[in-house]
Symmetry: C2
Subunit: 331 residues, 2 copies
């Protein structure tokens, strides 16, 4: 059973994989490369993953062929689904059992390495699957937060190349989300408006950092981008939770997400990247001050001592220049 331990200085939680217990020699080999041989995510290999949790299917039974999107538990889960939290102390320290969920969303039965290979309609089905899984897991009162994320490329933490996303549900609200919510709440108290709504209005009217400006969504390079070509997608309609977005609004999101990724892949020749969906915690009611969004982070620069020690980032590409490059793709 993994353990959740809290850093008493910052309040940050860490998942300690007490059972896995890697040895020093496990780190001596070269970085993991993505296997190009057998792929457990391909159609026909359904018995090589843990049993299916959900799927969108054209035909076939559970754990058989015929699916378009398939959700399975992660074979090496960061958190365990069964059991109570058993919150406790150890002197000045706080810990609990590593309870949560860790699922893999296999985005297509074909062996393709990027989501952008799929049509916008099929990307929309991936988004629908995210939302269905979040709403199902939200019913479990032990859980506080669900993060949907994607790792592409070895440097960005992927261990299989077949295009997939992941969903980790945690029993405490992650510190990054708490900090975003606190910052947005402070802005709301001071100005009486949603920070993200203000941001999308300012970006849309100045346009210098905009990559795509649609009816329902805007994609732009944030003013204080931590990383070169960091791209955020913000819905124009204010909502604090991603999992309540109605189906009618997911097609344009699929189009904007696919378009942003195509531009990044094209300008940077298929870089490693992560994307994450930030949404309000499960047990927080719809609120005026928080606004769900997607952050896409190409992994082009290294995080070194200065960044770890300060939280400052050094970005060698001004976001206005990055937006120029991304807008020019395909012209």
């Amino acid at each position: 059973m993994p353990e959740l331990r809290k850093d008493p200085v910052t309040g940050r939680w860490v998942i300690i994989a007490t059972e896995r217990g890697a040895r020093p020699s496990d780190f001596k080999s070269a970085p993991q490369v993505i296997s190009r041989g057998f792929c457990p995510f391909c159609e026909g290999n359904e018995d090589k993953t843990p049993p299916e949790i959900a799927a969108l299917r054209d035909y076939g039974e559970r754990n058989q062929k015929g699916w378009r999107v398939r959700v399975v538990p992660n074979k090496f889960p960061a958190l365990q689904i069964e059991g109570g939290l058993d919150k406790r102390g150890d002197g000045i320290y706080d810990l609990m059992r590593g309870i949560g969920a860790h699922e893999v969303i296999i985005e297509t039965p074909e062996h393709v390495t990027t989501l952008t290979t799929l049509s916008a309609q099929r990307v929309e089905e991936v988004l629908v699957t995210y939302i269905e899984r979040l709403n199902d897991l939200k019913k479990d009162k032990r859980f506080a937060y669900g993060l949907v994320f994607k790792n592409v490329g070895s440097i960005a933490g992927a261990s299989l190349e077949h295009t997939h996303s992941q969903l980790i549900v945690t029993p405490v609200v992650p510190i990054t989300v708490t900090r975003e919510m606190n910052g947005a709440r402070e802005f709301f108290h001071y100005r009486g408006r949603c920070l993200f709504c203000d941001m999308l209005n300012q970006e849309s009217s100045s346009a210098s950092r905009v990559v795509a400006d649609g009816d329902e969504y805007i994609a732009f390079e944030p003013f204080a981008s931590r990383f070169p070509f960091e791209t955020w997608i913000i819905p124009k309609r204010h909502r604090s939770h991603f999992e309540v977005v109605p189906r009618a609004e997911l097609r344009e999101l699929a189009e904007v997400l696919k378009d942003s990724l195509v531009r990044i892949e094209s300008a940077l020749e298929n870089p490693p990247y992560n994307y994450i969906i930030h949404s309000a915690p499960f047990n927080v009611a719809e609120t005026e001050h928080y606004h769900w969004h997607i952050e896409i982070i190409p992994r082009l620069t290294k995080v070194a001592g200065f960044e770890w020690g300060t939280g400052f980032y050094i970005n060698p590409v001004p976001p206005e220049k990055a937006a120029d490059f991304l807008r020019d793709v395909g012209k």
Copy 2:
């Protein structure tokens, strides 16, 4: 002139290198490798660095041979030393000019790739140099914070292998330091004691996570280690600022730092790593609740979407096991 921009959501500052303006093609090549040819940090190549700021010397003039430790400006500084801050707004955003200092501490004239090659006495001289530079830069009232850090290995952000450290001075207090200080202040208000003093007492008495327990310093694996073999060195004597540590206490620090690095290098076969020195900001008076310390971070695991999105870390080596391995080195 680089620009400092503030993320309106989290309050985090980012350094935008507006002049450097890297192009997408700059990121297409393989990761930088450390040059094994000509080395600008070696004795005899003093004219290949920007002019010397300070040095500890056996003989010779400024910018000539005869030094043991040499400090020069970084050739590609993250921040510029000259000018005013020009703090201003742009709609909802805040920014200022990228003013600060960025220095390189060359730890030895010989071409060696790790600090542990040096005697404890010479490591002590490196620490003395850190302190002298911090005290000199602290006099400039534009500056709020000085971070001493070290990058070893390409993965950890080093671009030259000749052993060196860096010092970046910023005009605002970094968010990571503010968060540590806030957490420690909260603990102090609740318990009436310094969190770090409590931590070192608990670690010293339980001993399960201790790597080395000296008269003046303790080296241990923190309870909520974010990374495998993360090691902190905390002074037993409470002080909030590193730069006021008297010379008499630096020899044991040099010994404990060298010993910790030797153990990490030996157990993990010279892994990439960073270390950082966390100290209270320049303009904060000595305080009961903050306690300077060193954090050593071996760079063995990847930071992926889950970590970026939540601030959670997944550590596959329990710190108690890591301490066992590090204590066993050389036995």
